[in-house]
């Protein structure tokens, strides 16, 4: 239905375009001097039809589903919904919807089949109503736009005003996205903290996100203390940085100072490939190659290594971060003014001394900014740890143990679960909010360092 409606709108607006354009062209042929060329008269009609009607369609489609659901539920025979919680009502609605799609399981009660029929009927009616409203509204606007075609009508100004408005709207999408993220996380987190005390979340040392399946279940209370989860994230991040920082720094220094231009031309794109590999591939690499290798290496030394040790996930994450750190270091070293380098070399310093004692200290702010961004990447990285790290939160800093991370918990708590009314799924949003805040603070800090440093040399 939606496709038909959009097609109809497109046809009507093209009709409006050609009507206005021809009208203006006729006027010009008759010798009238127009303010705007005929094309702008056409575009004016096209844009002033499409923009408001598309907004109307989107709003209609967004509101149609919930409205029809509500009508369906309120139209059920009295008494059929008594003594039912939200979950039970949703189940009945889902059943009605599945019957309306023709998927009938067992023998549903007659009133459910009736409701399904009504559901289908209402959808059809809503679709036709939308179609009618769109046709009437767009034809009306086309007629209005046609009536405005005149010699002194400033169609070009109108078109430019509309496009300016559209572009302004486009640039506010970023703000709306940020607002959406904050609203979603905040709203669900508040619902979480209504069920679990805020002090338990921030200070608790146990993370066992279970919920009772039955009322009378023993050991039903889950524990929601985020400290072990956060500690696990830190362990993996530290392991990743231990690998990525030295390798990234040294390779960037080598590429920047010692490598021949030909080697540089080859090596830089190859390093970029490492950055372009999707993280799910790194995750598979961790479980296919790195984790078994670390385990068998530990076995030859007689050290017990957990099957999903933090070391495996962390080192693969380190490999992922190498190009990130090396490109930031490379940029920072290249941004140091040539005069500093020339001065050091003229005083008789070797190239190594120039790099280590002159360029590197000058580039430190940029490099630190890059490392901070890498930390925030590592904290927010999901797929590698989901595939290669553990699920059970333990309070340990031993990288050979299995640890879990914030992102792993978010994914495992939410995958396959639809209801938003228990602490288990809501906990994921609380964790998500902490993740968002931590990475945001690090990012803002890092960007500030990088920018301040750039200004110093420009």
């Amino acid at each position: 239905m939606a496709t038909t409606v959009f097609l109809a709108l497109l046809c009507v607006s093209i009709l409006g375009y050609s009507l206005n354009r021809q009208a203006a062209a006729r006027m010009r042929a008759n010798g009238t001097k127009l303010h705007s060329v005929p094309g702008y008269h056409g575009l004016y009609s096209l844009l002033s039809t499409i923009v408001p009607v598309v907004v109307l369609i989107v709003l209609w489609l967004a509101l149609q589903g919930p409205t029809i659901d509500r009508f369906t539920m309120s139209g059920l025979p009295a008494g059929s919904l008594d003594e039912l919680e939200t979950g039970g009502r949703q189940l009945i609605l889902a059943e009605i919807k599945s019957i309306s799609r023709g998927r009938v399981f067992g023998n549903p009660e007659a009133w459910k089949v009736d409701a399904a029929d009504r559901y289908v009927w209402m959808h059809a009616v809503a679709g036709w109503m939308l179609f009618g409203v769109v046709i009437v509204a767009s034809l009306g606007i086309v007629g209005f736009a046609r009536s405005r075609v005149a010699a002194d009508f400033r169609a070009r100004h109108g078109v430019e005003r509309i496009t300016s408005g559209l572009m302004l709207f486009c640039s506010t999408i970023a703000i709306f996205t940020t607002l959406g993220i904050i609203a979603a996380l905040l709203f669900e987190s508040i619902r979480f903290f209504e069920r679990v005390p805020i002090t338990e979340f921030f200070l608790g040392l146990n993370w066992e996100p279970q919920i009772p399946l039955r009322e009378d279940q023993v050991a039903a209370e889950g524990a929601f203390g985020w400290i072990p989860v956060f500690l696990g994230t830190l362990v993996i991040t530290v392991v990743a940085l231990f690998l990525a920082v030295p390798v990234g720094l040294l390779s960037a220094i080598y590429l920047n100072e010692f490598a021949t231009p030909r080697l540089r031309a080859v090596a830089k794109p190859v390093l970029e490939i490492l950055a372009g590999v999707p993280t799910v591939v790194y995750g598979f690499f961790a479980i296919l190659v790195v984790a078994p290798a670390i385990r068998s290496f530990g076995a030859t030394l007689g050290i017990p290594v957990s099957p999903n040790a933090a070391l495996a996930a962390g080192s693969v994450m380190g490999i992922m971060l190498i190009p990130f750190i090396s490109s930031f270091t490379d940029d920072a070293l290249s941004a140091v003014p040539k005069s500093l380098r020339d001065g050091a070399l003229a005083l008789g310093a070797t190239r190594a001394e120039t790099v280590l004692n002159v360029l590197f200290p000058a580039a430190i702010p940029g490099i630190v900014g890059g490392i901070l961004l890498a930390i925030s990447r590592a904290i927010g990285e999901t797929m590698i740890v989901v595939m290669a790290a553990g699920l059970i939160a333990s309070l340990t800093i031993n990288p050979l143990d299995s640890v879990t991370t914030v992102t792993v918990q978010i994914v495992t708590l939410l995958v396959g679960d639809t209801s938003f009314d228990n602490p288990k799924t809501l906990a994921a949003f609380a964790l998500g909010m902490m993740l968002f805040i931590v990475t945001l603070v690090i990012n803002v800090f890092a960007l500030r360092i990088v920018r301040k440093y750039r200004e110093a040399y420009e």
Binding site: V247, V270, F285, I319
Partner: protein
């Protein structure tokens, strides 16, 4: 030591400095070469890791590009498959009977043997036969030739992944089963053609039948939606910020937002989609449409940043010339600057879409990791995407899925390399330096 001699030595000062420098030169050069060796070591480490990554994927994945098939003559016994009971019938019994007739020591009356025989073929074989018979009921009572995949353990055996030297109790195939298979090989009933099913089949619980069709179609829809949303919105925002926005608090705020969005962890976008698109707007779970909208929000900052860079690269003389002959600011931008910046914009867009194609975490949260055995026919139907399919298969315990995961990764990397190559081509072919 050098300091002490320098203080007491009566020789002229210039000479002593030269000596000092000379004495320390070896140490300083050693330091330099140490740094160089460390640098080379670090770079080789990175390259080695890339090599191991690719090599391990290729070595475990190339096997999945072929699939062991068996060709059988099946007599469709009217007693097992009566016409009036179609589409039901003992199709598995018919196939087992045909197998036992060609194999020497298979006793058709021993039920354990027959069950073992049945597991030689892929579970889909009987359905394939059923579909053929339902389509053409005249086949009942005749002998048909059919080529079907063998089940996963035999596939592994044929590809040499099951070691025949392993003691029998640790092996997935018993000695008599291997003997059967060797008989079939001797009869030339076994073939190993290119595994077209990897691309043309949807997902399945059985590795020998599982393919990427559903994931490819799902990824196609998600990327189309992502492109349709992020491309116009991204370009609009970039043009506004670069060409029209006044320098004020609002523009700065928008810029800060865009820069921050580019660094927000992808899983947070998944939470946004789950809470807002699915929870509040009531859009369906697992739908590529929702996935595409989520990916669009993540891709938009990339497109905006690339577009702004491309617009900035157009020299001011173009703008001034157009303004000079009387064009309005809109006409300058849409008629002259934007077309000149298009190659750069397209390059950035393709790179952004390539990133979106590999993105997994947000798609997991909106449920695009469901087990779905048919390709979606529209963007609002449940589907998986290429990276989530890789995740599902990587989690599956069957041996056959390990090589299929690697093969799926190779397919994904193939797409990414193609997209990047196209963007590099576009840049080299159309981008002008002024």
């Amino acid at each position: 030591m050098a300091d002490a001699t320098a203080g007491t030595d009566p020789k002229p000062k210039t000479g002593s400095t030269a000596d000092l420098v000379r004495a320390s030169l070896a140490r300083r050069n050693r330091k330099q070469s140490t740094l160089q060796v460390l640098g080379i070591g670090a770079m080789s480490f990175a390259f080695l890791m890339l090599f191991i990554l690719v090599a391990s994927l290729v070595s475990s994945g190339y096997q999945a590009f072929t699939q062991t098939h068996i060709t059988l003559e099946v007599f469709i016994d009217p007693e097992e498959v009566p016409l009036e009971r179609l589409p039901r019938g003992g199709f598995d019994d018919v196939i087992e009977a045909s197998l036992s007739s060609v194999l020497e020591d298979a006793d058709p009356n021993d039920r354990a043997t027959m069950r073992a025989l049945g597991s030689l073929l892929s579970n889909g074989a009987q359905f394939k036969l059923r579909d053929r018979v339902v389509e053409d009921p005249d086949l009942i009572g005749q002998t048909v030739t059919m080529t079907v995949p063998v089940s996963d353990p035999y596939d592994q055996l044929h590809k040499g992944l099951i070691d025949r030297e392993t003691p029998e109790q640790f092996r997935r195939l018993k000695n008599f089963e291997i003997a059967w298979f060797d008989q079939l090989v001797a009869m030339e009933a076994i073939s190993k053609p290119l595994n077209t099913g990897l691309i043309s089949n949807p997902d399945s619980r059985f590795p020998e039948l599982a393919g990427l069709k559903g994931a490819l179609v799902g990824s196609f829809w998600a990327l189309s939606v992502c492109f349709a949303i992020s491309f116009p919105l991204g370009i609009g925002a970039a043009i506004y910020l670069e060409e029209f926005a006044p320098k004020n608090k609002f523009s700065d705020f928008v810029e800060v937002n865009i820069n921050n969005l580019a660094a927000v962890p992808s899983v947070v976008f998944g939470l946004l989609a789950l809470a807002v698109f699915i929870g509040w707007f009531g859009l369906p779970r697992s739908a590529p449409f929702v996935g595409g909208m989520t990916l669009a929000l993540m891709t938009m900052p990339t497109i905006i940043i690339a577009t702004r860079a491309a617009l900035k690269a157009v020299p001011p003389s173009i703008r001034e010339a157009a303004l000079g002959v009387g064009a309005s600011r809109h006409q300058v931008v849409f008629g002259h600057v934007l077309p000149l910046a298009m190659p750069g914009i397209l390059t950035g867009t393709i790179i952004g879409l390539a990133q979106a194609l590999g993105e997994t975490a947000p798609l997991l949260l909106i449920g695009m990791n469901a087990f779905i055995t048919s390709a979606p026919s529209g963007p609002l139907e449940s589907a998986t995407a290429l990276p989530t399919q890789i995740f599902i298969w990587a989690d599956s315990p069957e041996r056959g899925f390990a090589s299929r995961t690697s093969a799926a990764i190779l397919v994904l990397l193939g797409f990414l390399i193609t997209m990047n190559a196209v963007s590099i081509y576009l840049r080299n072919r159309f981008e002008r330096s002024w």
